[in-house]
Amino acid sequence: MNKSVIFGALTIAGLAAGAAAAGTLDDVKARGKLNCGVTTGLAGFAAPDATGEWKGIDAAFCRAVAAAVLGDATAVEFVPTTGKTRFTALASGEIDVLARNTTWTLSRDVDLKFDFLGVNYYDGQGFMVPKALGVSSAKDLDGATVCVQTGTTTELNLADFFRANNISYEPVPIETNAEGAQQYLAGACDSYTTDASGLASTRATFENPGDHTLLPEIISKEPLGPLVRHGDNEWGDVVRWTLNALISAEELGVTSANVGEMSTGSTNPEIKRLLGTEGTLGEMLGLDADWAKRAIATQGNYGEIFARNIGEDTPVGLARGLNAQWTDGGLLYSPPFR
């Protein structure tokens, strides 16, 4: 009996030792697979489609990283995480990168010891209500019951908003977006609150999306972006510049369709550096010269990914708004490839 206790203890200790942080880039290359943390299912951001394949802008970002690092956009292990489990999953090394509608905040960056690598969607928190309720402003929600995902910034903003406006509400804490939608439709809450993009995406999956409306108030800034563990700067650089490559590609007019001819035919020196026909940017990152070319060729540039998954021609139907290139009046602005 005593013996088995000791062996058990040793095994646990051994496992704990294995999780120690090290060069994630080398780990991923050695493993031949990228472990990417995503949502449990949010249409347009990351959700498995009918064939079980993960689709959405976060899923596409995971694939772009895998294409850049491993040369294979399908070498991704998608790990669904809830608002509550995501940070533990990343800190423990279960996932290499988290791309899950996660808001860049100071405490997450500094106190939780993560590094945010940019923003792939500028968002803000909104409220959805049934049209039949006849509510036209979030300030009319005094006394309402509100569904909110726990472990999120959403839950904190919600408390702040109602307190600042001196009105009351009753929170119904939920774990996943699917549960939130179900509770909201069942009438367990009067309003569902989360990032406005998430509301649009959730509403798109309803049987009668027209019966529900998003209130005009956006009560917070929610810059959503990918993050990695703090302290592994080489790996952080690779993920950050993969995101920048997708954004720059749109700005420079490089698409999945023309990336091949651009890499040989373009005379623009920045395009040449981005696609690896000139300079040694890939080598500096510890990758080969074609890293960005592969990411763009398989997933498309930022604009293509956006249009395919959440753009105005999709059921989610989001306008580019803040997420347009800086040249079009948006906030997307990649540092130069030089």
Binding site: I12, A17, A19, D111, G143, T150, L158, A186
Partner: protein, 414 residues
């Protein structure tokens, strides 16, 4: 082990630690203990090293910072600006509330079902076995979810009670069953301590008075017993006891100015306002824990009753006791000795199973300290340690109290 071959006396040699049966078991235990200590030390140092490597540390400073989130069922004053410690206390109180409620109802259900399982009526007997088997053999988490789904799906929406001309009237004009919970009139005191706000002191006073009645009735019973021993005639205690229970409480409630706050369908456009709201998560959790654990308790009760030999019943009826008195004076006191020890573990189970509250969004300690606080602060190790400490303390307390009760019920050997 043979003692005959052991050398008697003589000098101590090191090899005797292994070869001498007097020392061998001690040696082995010492080795095992050292190995265990080394492994635990290794795990802890490993944990600390890994934390240091990730630049993390162990610190309880977060307990004093504002929690930042709201909680839907708070029995003590709490806002999102309260500290994480206070949020933890809200959770502790909610855990204790559901645990106590469930222990009471599970015991009542269990005793009834356990006794009825031995009934002479075939239908009743079979019904009770059905209850026991179905609830005992399906995990309690599933029951919690099933009951929550039923409560939320079957009950009408809160909205149907609202407005000047509601779709649905309240039961007796004062009780509303909605899919968000049950609203009942809330008692409050107009002349009590703490003025308008009311104060816990009022209820403490009522409880103190009830305890006074309890002791007074006990004294009355003791007196009746004595008179019976001395004279053989037992004075009737029913009416005096009833009066001792009711009159003082009634007087105190009257002086405090007991009054009722009814749920108001007009005050808000989303929910009923006022009254006492018993939330759907609490109802689901309470019911599920009660019926689930009640099934186990029923089995304990049945086993306890069956453990009392049939001769006892026969002897009792030979002495002329009626079946009812046989049960309460002869069988149950003996059966309790068998019933109480497993009952302790059922109470412990209820308390620990209440941590499944999270499945229905009930704000117990696992949901506040071990859920939202843990997540928002990222202090996983600290929060889990505190949680473990809480459950351990509560479990040990329950065991201690029940063990005291158990020893008072034990067979007294003279």
């Amino acid at each position: 082990m043979s003692t005959t071959t052991d050398p008697q006396g003589g000098t101590f040699r090191l090899s005797m630690l292994m070869n001498d049966s007097r020392y061998r078991s001690l040696t082995l235990q010492a080795i095992a203990a050292i190995l265990l200590a080394i492994s635990i030390g290794y795990i802890i140092s490993n944990l600390l090293a890994n934390l240091a490597e990730q630049d993390l540390n162990i610190s309880f400073g977060f307990l004093a910072t504002p929690a930042g989130y709201d909680i839907n069922q708070t029995l003590i004053e709490y806002t999102s600006q309260s500290s994480n410690t206070r949020a933890a206390f809200v959770g502790i109180i909610n855990t204790l509330l559901v645990a106590i409620l469930a222990c009471i109802t599970a015991t009542v259900l269990g005793v009834i079902a356990g006794v009825l399982r031995l009934s002479n009526n075939w239908l009743v007997r079979k019904l009770m076995s059905f209850y026991v088997e179905i609830f005992r053999n399906i995990p309690v988490l599933i029951w919690i979810i099933i009951i929550f789904t039923i409560v939320t799906a079957v009950m009408p929406s809160a909205k149907s009670y609202l407005g000047e001309d509601p779709e649905r009237g309240m039961l007796g004009g004062i009780i509303a069953f909605t899919n968000r919970g049950v609203y009942v009139p809330a008692p409050f005191f107009t002349n009590g301590f703490g003025g308008e706000e009311g104060s816990i002191a009022n209820w403490l006073l009522v409880i103190v008075v009830l305890f006074g009645s309890l002791f007074a009735t006990r004294a009355m019973t003791a007196r009746a017993n004595k008179i019976q021993e001395d004279t053989g005639i037992r004075p009737g205690t029913l009416w005096t006891n009833l009066a001792i229970w009711l009159v003082p409480v009634a007087v105190v409630l009257f002086i405090l100015g007991l009054s009722w706050d009814f749920p108001d369908p007009l005050a808000n456009r989303f929910n009923l306002r006022g009254g006492l709201q018993i939330g759907a998560p609490l109802i689901a959790l309470w019911l599920a824990l009660s019926v689930y654990t009640g099934a186990f308790i029923a089995e304990n009760v049945r086993a306890g009753i069956q453990a009392v030999s049939k001769g006892q019943t026969e002897a009792a009826s030979a002495l002329g006791l009626r079946p009812r008195r046989t049960m309460s004076l002869v069988i149950l006191p003996q059966a309790l000795r068998v019933i109480i020890p497993p009952l302790i573990s059922q109470y412990l189970n209820i308390t620990k199973n209440s941590s499944l509250a999270i499945a229905v969004g009930y704000a117990d300690i696992t949901a506040t300290l071990g859920g939202i606080t843990l997540n928002q602060t990222g202090r996983a190790i600290e929060c889990v340690l505190l949680l473990m400490l809480f459950y351990l303390t509560i479990s040990l307390l329950i065991s201690a109290v029940m063990n005291v009760y158990n020893s008072s019920m034990k067979l007294k050997e003279r």
